[in-house]
């Protein structure tokens, strides 16, 4: 069971109050992109054993989307942050580094 804090309304709720939305920080490739780019955007998802970044929605609460950094092995949540960002905050990255030295996820480390 994950305990997430919604950065939009400040509620600390358990998993069933939220809805998962897949991988975070995706760059969208739509009309005009090459088949390769579109294929990668649609299907090539990270599925790590360890540090992961995900989109979540506070479905049974304020209804807003946010991003979460968590560990798929220990289920530890390193932090949640605004969906209107291109990368996790330094604070969250530091927290992950303290727990999982040498981690990397796509372009982040």
């Amino acid at each position: 069971m994950l305990i997430l804090e919604c950065p939009c309304c400040g509620v600390v709720g358990e998993e069933t109050e939220f809805a998962g939305g897949g991988e975070a920080h995706l760059k969208r490739f739509g009309p005009g992109s090459s088949d390769d780019q579109f294929h990668t955007y649609l299907f090539a998802k990270e599925n790590p054993k360890g540090v992961h970044f995900e989109r979540w929605r506070h479905a049974n609460g304020c209804g807003k989307w946010f991003l979460a950094a968590r560990n798929t092995v220990t289920l530890e949540v390193y932090g949640t942050y605004s969906a209107q960002t291109y990368e996790p905050t330094q604070e969250i990255k530091d927290k992950i580094s303290a727990k999982v030295p040498g981690w990397s996820w796509r372009g982040f480390s």
Binding site: C8, C9, G10, V11, G13, E14, T16, E17, A59, N60, G61, C62, G63, K64
Partner: protein, 189 residues
Amino acid sequence: MSSAVSALKGAKYEGYVKVEELGLRGMITLRGDLNSAKMKKAVQDVTGAKLPNQREITHEGDKAVAWMSPDELLVMVPYTDVHETLAALEKALKGQHFLAANVSDARAIFGLSGPAAREVIAKLCPVDMASGAFAPGQIRRTRMAQIAAAFWMTSDTRIEVVCFRSVAQYAFDLLKDAAEPGGEVGIFA
């Protein structure tokens, strides 16, 4: 003319907590920039209640304003005052980017009264209902068994719960079941 009726026509259940459907209440969804001075003034002028802070609800007589999300409020007024309130809001917010919609008939509202009211909610929602964690003046939107619901306390022994009208019977049955005599846990007593 058809006359409006609430979802369960005021159904009541006397358990160890009294559960009742509170009938019709005027509700307006108000969305927009909650930090704008115009919005603050409009809400205060129309309801007399102050614009609530994050996860708070403010009351003024039979009117109330609840914070639903960073850009949404729920304005509650007597059912017969909705059109008037809506018109006043629209006038006050003219020129702003906002939405004010009458959702009165899309909702059902329940009252839980009794010293163990907190316990009934605690049985159904993943929320810490200890008095230090949740108190009158706060609102919490959450999940009640399988449906979305929101609740707040009007006093330390009375809670109001809102949910969608389409699931009113389900919500009433849940609350009724949780309030059944013999099911007392006594954790907040």
